[in-house]
């Protein structure tokens, strides 16, 4: 066993200081290495006063650093049209709630008085003090409803209500999304439009088929009555 092997070895504590002698390097003037290092430090200090790429401090909040278009922070809910609550794309399917790693999403499905699902959220809360900005909710959403925001100035003095975002607070228009991430939003819009067109085409085809079937049936019935 390896443990036995371990014991049979010489204990390192007795030998580690004198395990190996220092390598016999060519003799150099003592202190040259130290001076070389100090030269690097001095060069860096002087350069930091005049080189543009070395002056990296951004004087926030007077100045803002440019933020990468891919940057993600907290999620938002997309809506179509003018009315935020009516146009929410969310269908309260609970996929994001299940996939959320820290479980910071809370959804209640809206139902009518008969208990039938209205396919929209009655409550949609995200506790951003728990959210860890991973973006999995946006990734798994099959209804193009949830996306990651780029807003970062969210500090508040109220750590309970102020950090619990409800659906009114989370709702953002699709225009906002298009402004924030033009590439992603354009892709989503194109796909949604294609889906819509497909749906319309399928519906039209279905209607046409139904019409044709009906006509054929009527014809058959007419023929039958003629024969009798």
């Amino acid at each position: 066993m390896s443990l036995v092997l371990n014991k049979s070895m010489e204990h390192p504590a007795t030998s580690s200081r004198a395990a190996t002698p220092p390598p016999a390097a060519a003799w150099t003037l003592p202190g040259i290495g130290l001076l070389k290092g100090l030269a690097v430090t001095a060069t860096n200090m002087i350069q930091s006063y005049y080189r543009k790429d070395r002056m990296t401090t951004v004087q926030y909040p007077e100045e803002r650093a440019t933020i990468s278009p891919n940057f993600r922070n907290f999620p938002f809910l997309a809506y179509d049209g003018a009315d935020a609550m009516a146009g929410l794309r969310c269908t309260a399917c609970l996929i994001c709630e299940n996939e959320c790693p820290p479980k910071c999403i809370y959804i209640v499905l809206d139902r009518d008085e008969n208990g039938k699902s209205l396919k929209r959220p009655k409550v949609f809360d995200i506790d951003v003090s728990v959210c860890m900005n991973c973006g999995i909710c946006a990734e798994v959403c099959p209804f193009d409803s949830i996306y990651m925001d780029g807003e970062y100035e969210l500090s508040t003095t109220d750590r309970f209500e102020g950090l619990l975002f409800n659906k009114q607070r989370l709702a953002r228009s699709t225009d906002y999304h298009a402004q924030l991430r033009p590439l992603e939003a354009a892709e989503v819009a194109a796909r949604r439009k294609a889906d819509e067109d497909k749906k319309l085409a399928a519906q039209a085809a279905k209607e046409a088929k139904a019409k044709a079937d009906k006509a054929a049936k009527e014809q058959a019935a007419a023929q039958e009555s003629e024969l009798s």
């Binding site: 204990h11 390192p12 200081r17 190996t20 290092g37 430090t41 940057f71 860890m132 900005n133 991973c134």
Partner: protein
């Protein structure tokens, strides 16, 4: 060893809140004058129950938690976990995704090793300069990561069967510029540290252990290679597409703290060589397997262990699946934790000041040690 008078020994509790312990880590040290007589590491202050939490959530949901293991290099953690799940479910990875993974992993190695040099010098008392220079370069790489993954550190980027998104326009060109400029920083770093007489006096012949002890202790990564053992998973068990690149594995001779520092400096150059080849060969194509599932992912019943050479050593994920959407067992083999197990053996008989240095040379991240 002569008999020690119990009354003459001094008990020092280093940590848990101590700048030299790289996080919340405690060492109970028994001193005879300045000499270490015994050292008992105490960890677990940062325990977050990661493995058990992972058994209660879906496979995909664990991915962002792996970022928080070794938070200096989240992308290699992502890769190891993605590889384990891919092995479990038998998912193939497209070529372009493999290249993206190699590029991000080697950039991560650049961050880790250059930051290591800074932290190590900080442990020695040269607090500031080297770390700030390393962080200046790290910032450039983190900007690249932000463009690619959306976050500087908590990337959550790899997916089972590829990566989450493709490289943004111009990203590869920006990375090439960075890779071409990086050697200048390495020259600067080497000028700063390698010839320094104080550094040599402090690090040579400190903390060396025989090869056999390191192998028996399960030590991996730069710690093991510094002692002259040619063991790098990228070479001995090539994963991904590492067998396509030409690179060398630097080896030390004595395994003391100086060797451990130099190994990392040399590995930085080899990482740059891999990055140059990968960026040159980067093919077009899909960044994720077209049949990779994001929702309703249920791997078949079975078990898998996948390991990669993370910047700190062998990082492995062991998964058991019972066919449901959640892993039955989820286990991590963290390099930092296992490299830490021989700390006492390395420190016995040395001075207290050397203990700090040896701990620094192991290159631990407490997020990974405690999990």
């Amino acid at each position: 060893m002569p008999e020690l008078d119990e009354d003459q020994l001094l008990h020092v509790s280093l940590g848990p809140q101590h700048p030299s312990t790289h996080g919340v880590f405690r060492m109970n040290v028994l001193l005879d004058g300045e000499t270490v007589v015994s050292l008992k590491p105490v960890f677990g202050y940062l325990h977050r129950n990661h493995e058990k939490i992972a058994e209660g959530i879906t496979y995909l949901s664990s991915m962002p938690f792996t970022d928080r293991l070794d938070y200096i290099c989240p992308l290699t953690n992502n890769w190891a976990y993605a590889q384990a799940v891919e092995k479990l479910a038998g998912i193939e990875v497209p070529e372009r995704a493999e290249y993206i993974r190699v590029i991000t992993a080697e950039l991560t190695r650049l961050i880790n090793h250059s930051a290591f040099v800074g932290f190590f010098l900080g442990d020695m008392g040269a607090w500031g300069s080297a770390l700030m220079y390393a962080f200046r370069e790290r910032e450039k790489i983190l900007d690249l990561f932000e463009d690619l993954t959306g976050a500087r550190m908590m990337s959550n980027y790899m997916r089972f069967g590829g990566c989450r998104n493709d490289l943004p326009d111009g990203w590869a060109a920006k990375a090439s510029v960075l890779v071409n400029e990086f050697p200048r920083f390495l020259d600067e770093l080497e000028n700063l540290v390698t010839g320094n007489e104080i550094l040599i006096a402090r690090t040579q012949n400190i903390g060396a252990l025989p090869k056999e002890a390191l192998i028996n202790g399960g030590i991996t990564g730069p710690m093991l290679r510094a002692a002259g053992v040619a063991y790098d998973i990228r070479k001995v068990e090539p994963y991904g597409i590492y067998d396509r690149f030409k690179f060398r594995i630097p080896l030390g001779t004595t395994g003391d703290c100086y060797d451990r520092l130099m190994i990392r400096l040399l590995e930085l150059r080899e990482s740059l060589a891999i990055l140059r080849q990968a960026l040159d060969q980067l093919p077009e194509g899909a960044y994720i397997h077209p049949k990779a599932k994001i929702r309703n992912f249920k791997p078949p019943v079975g078990e898998a262990y996948a390991r990669i050479e993370s910047p700190k050593g062998e990082l492995g994920f062991y998964l058991i699946s019972d066919g449901s959407a959640k892993p039955f067992r989820y286990r991590i083999r963290p390099p930092s934790f296992i490299n830490l197990t021989l700390l006492e053996d390395m420190c016995l008989g040395l001075d207290l000041a050397d203990v700090v240095l040896i701990l620094g040379s192991i290159d631990i991240v407490l997020g990974e040690v405690d999990r």
